[in-house]
Each structure stands twice: as structure tokens, then as C-alpha cells.
């Protein structure tokens, strides 16, 4: 009786449930995992290419570019470029950080007062298209790219006025897109209010 049963159960076993088709089998689950990984990789690539959140040059660049990313559409709502945070700010280490927004067709703030002889950290981003801040005497150019915060380090030894025009064509108002830095001795800088440091434009 037992001998007869064995081949019957063997034949049903081999026909209906072969090892690789069993639900808990090692072969099939590994294959499924690989399939899911490949599918999600494909979907990620498609998403990065087609529906990329910020206006950076590519999705991969966005992922690899580190912490200096920012959404150009919401600069005024959150983050370090809200309007109360723009302009020069004194740092605990004695340096000064200047935050600016480049937009069609202005640099905001348009005129910034900075102290001479201290290291300056200029952080700039763009709200719309690519602009290029050019500090005439320092020979320095900073490209302001939407989606990114770009940083440059400057130091002015001489007091005076330093024009900073835009050197990247950005639209019909490009040629009027100019701002300036006014470097003053540190003691004079300390006595100025934040309002005066940001609004040195002449009327």
C-alpha cells in the first residue's frame, strides 16, 4: 500500500509544485526582488528626467550636488534667503556673510555695505534664470543658478565702491541689472544699522 502511494505523491509533486514555483522558494523570491529593484530604478530614472522638482540642470546633478540646494520658487517663504535674512550678517568668527538673490533684473539687496579687512562669504542664488554677479575690482565672478546656493569668498583691503553688474544675458532688462558693494572701515560698519547696510542706494 505504501509503495503504491509514493509514486502517486511524487508525480503530483513534480507536476504541480516544482521547487522554483513554490511561493516560499529561494529562486523565485530572489528573482522578484531583482525585478522590483530594476523596476524602481527605471521609475526613479524616468522621474528624475521627466518630472524634476527644481530647475537644476539634471536630476542626477541635483542628487549629487550636496546640501547647497534650494527651491527658487519659495525663496521668500522659507530658508536662508527670506527677505529679513538678506544682506550682510556678522558671524561669530568675525567674518561677514552677505546673502543675495539674483532675479530678473535686480540683485537684492541692490547695494550692500561691507567692512574692509575681514573675510566675506557671499552666498547667492537665483529666483528665475542664470545670472552672473561680477565683482569688478576683485576679478571675481559668481554664477547664480536657480536651485543652487553658490558661495564665494572675498576680502576688500581698500575702502570704496565696487560695482557688481550681471555678466550673463538674462533677458530684456539685463543691461540695467547692476548692484554695488561699498566697503567701509570696520568701525564705521559696526555703527550702521542693518537697514543702512542694505539700503545704500542713492535716490
Amino acid at each position: 500500500m505504501e509503495r503504491e502511494k509514493v509514486p502517486v505523491s511524487n508525480s503530483t509533486f513534480s507536476a504541480a509544485t516544482r521547487p522554483e514555483e513554490r511561493p516560499g522558494g529561494t529562486g523565485s523570491s530572489a528573482r522578484r526582488v531583482i525585478r522590483v529593484i530594476l523596476l524602481s530604478l527605471t521609475l526613479t530614472c524616468v522621474w528624475l528626467t521627466v518630472r524634476f522638482p527644481y530647475e537644476a540642470e539634471s536630476g542626477l546633478e541635483y542628487l549629487l550636488s550636496g546640501p547647497n540646494r534650494i527651491n527658487p520658487q519659495t525663496l521668500h517663504l522659507r530658508g536662508e534667503f527670506v527677505e529679513s535674512n538678506l544682506g550682510p550678517a556678522e558671524e561669530p568668527d568675525g567674518g561677514v556673510t552677505v546673502r543675495m538673490i539674483a532675479e530678473q533684473y535686480l540683485f537684492v539687496p541692490q547695494c550692500v555695505v561691507v567692512p574692509t579687512g575681514v573675510p566675506l562669504r557671499v552666498r547667492i542664488t537665483s529666483a528665475d534664470v542664470v545670472h552672473k554677479l561680477t565683482v569688478s575690482d576683485a576679478g571675481d565672478e559668481v554664477k547664480a543658478v536657480p536651485g543652487y546656493v553658490v558661495e564665494t569668498h572675498l576680502r576688500f583691503e581698500r575702502a570704496g565702491e565696487y560695482p557688481m553688474p550681471c555678466h550673463e544675458f538674462c533677458g530684456p532688462g539685463h543691461y540695467a541689472m547692476r548692484s554695488k558693494l561699498i566697503a567701509v572701515p570696520p568701525e564705521q560698519f559696526r555703527n550702521l544699522s542693518q537697514q543702512a547696510r542694505m539700503n545704500c542706494v542713492s535716490r
Binding site: G79, A127, P172, G173, A176, N199
Partner: protein
């Protein structure tokens, strides 16, 4: 980012950000529904979108994103007006989009039978040249971009209104407001940076130039 910086109290000029979602919502209004809601705007803004008082803005042909943003700013108190704030408070986001769609499709053609204040004549003929230069060329030495690069017809910036059919008194009030900071709902300090640099003569000249209908009317920004 910037965690080592002591943050001053954050000032937010407007809750509106021009994300794709906001633009889609603001431009999805139903003009017919807007016509019904807009009946109560008639008394000040005119039956044809042109006001009989020069200190009230004309809304005919106004870009719908502009109307929608201003209504939202009135609602959130980012722009203050004792008249408009209660009215805006009674409108939902969809209502605002409908009203905006209604004014957007109104024609800006002249109508002799309408009691509109627009256009008014210049108070000083010299103003035409002063304003014309600022509108078409700006002033590069002071970093003043030409008005037409954002307000049309040469270029458009999202949220910048067309000014070609706007009332002079209203415009002057807004320029003064931006310059003094009384009105501060422009995103990223755009208008405040510009208005503060204009001299008194330039402010009057610009307001009167637009208010006299001397500026070229805009082709409607496409696709919005």
C-alpha cells in the same frame, strides 16, 4: 543649511509662491461664475472693469494670476486695505480664480458711453519724455531696469501686472507705497528696490504716462 546663523524674525511678503500647482489653480477659474461673483465689484471697479474713480484700479484685461495673488494677499493681510480685505475674506480660492478669469477676459477697448476715469491727461508735458525713457530703457547707472521688461509688452514676469490701462492716481499711490514700505507684498523685494530709487518727478511721470494711456497695450500673455 545656515544652522550656525542666528535667524532674525522672519518676514514673509506674500504666502503665494509661483509653483506649478499655484499657477494651475489660479488660472483654472470659470469666467461665467466670476461674472456672477464680480457683480459686487462693479460699484468701485466699474461695470466694464474701468473705474470711475482714478484712485481705484482698473481690472479689465488684468492677468488672472495678478488678480488671484492680490486677493490672496488681501485675505492673508499681506497687503492691507480696509475695503478689499473684508471682501477678499469672503472669497474662497476658487472664487478668486473665477473673478480673476472674468476680469482677464474683459476687453480694454475704449467705450465713450462708460463713465471711466481713464485716460487722464498729463499734468506736465515734460513727463512724457521722463517716463518714456524709464519705461523703454530704464536707467543702467542706477540699476533701474526698464518697466516694460517685466510689465510688458517686451517681457513678462509672473505676477507683474500690465500697466497700460491703469489709473494714474492709483499707480502713484502704489509706487509711493512700495517706496515707503507701506505696501510690501512683492516677492523678493522687486518693486520695493526699484520704487525707493525713483525721484518724486519720476514717480509722477510714470503714473501719469500710464494713466494717460500712452503706453503700448500688451498682447495678452499667452497660455496663462
Amino acid at each position: 543649511m545656515g544652522s550656525d546663523v542666528a535667524e532674525p524674525p522672519v518676514r514673509i511678503p506674500s504666502n503665494v509662491a509661483w509653483t506649478a500647482r499655484t499657477i494651475a489653480m489660479a488660472s483654472s477659474g470659470d469666467a461665467l461664475r466670476g461674472l456672477l461673483i464680480g457683480r459686487r465689484c462693479d460699484r468701485c471697479h466699474g461695470r466694464e472693469g474701468f473705474s470711475s474713480s482714478p484712485s481705484v484700479p482698473n481690472l479689465a484685461g488684468m492677468d488672472r494670476l495678478v488678480v488671484w495673488k492680490q486677493l490672496d494677499d488681501f485675505r492673508s493681510g499681506k497687503r492691507s486695505s480696509p475695503v478689499m480685505q473684508p471682501i477678499a475674506n469672503s472669497l474662497s480660492l476658487e472664487d478668486s480664480a473665477d473673478v480673476a478669469a472674468y476680469y482677464w477676459m474683459m476687453p480694454i477697448a475704449p467705450d465713450p458711453q462708460d463713465d471711466r476715469a481713464f485716460p487722464q491727461s498729463l499734468s506736465d508735458p515734460k513727463h512724457e519724455a521722463v517716463a518714456g525713457r524709464l519705461i523703454t530703457a530704464g536707467d543702467g547707472n542706477r540699476g533701474l531696469p526698464p518697466c516694460q521688461a517685466c510689465h510688458g509688452p517686451v517681457g513678462f514676469v509672473t505676477g507683474a501686472p500690465s500697466l497700460a490701462t491703469q489709473n494714474a492716481t492709483y499707480l502713484l499711490e502704489q509706487i509711493e507705497g512700495f517706496a515707503s514700505g507701506r505696501r510690501a507684498n512683492d516677492i523678493n523685494l522687486r518693486m520695493r528696490s526699484i520704487a525707493v530709487q525713483l525721484t518724486d518727478e519720476e514717480r509722477h511721470a510714470l503714473a501719469e504716462f500710464y494713466g494717460a494711456g500712452l503706453a503700448e497695450p500688451n498682447a495678452r500673455p499667452a497660455g496663462r
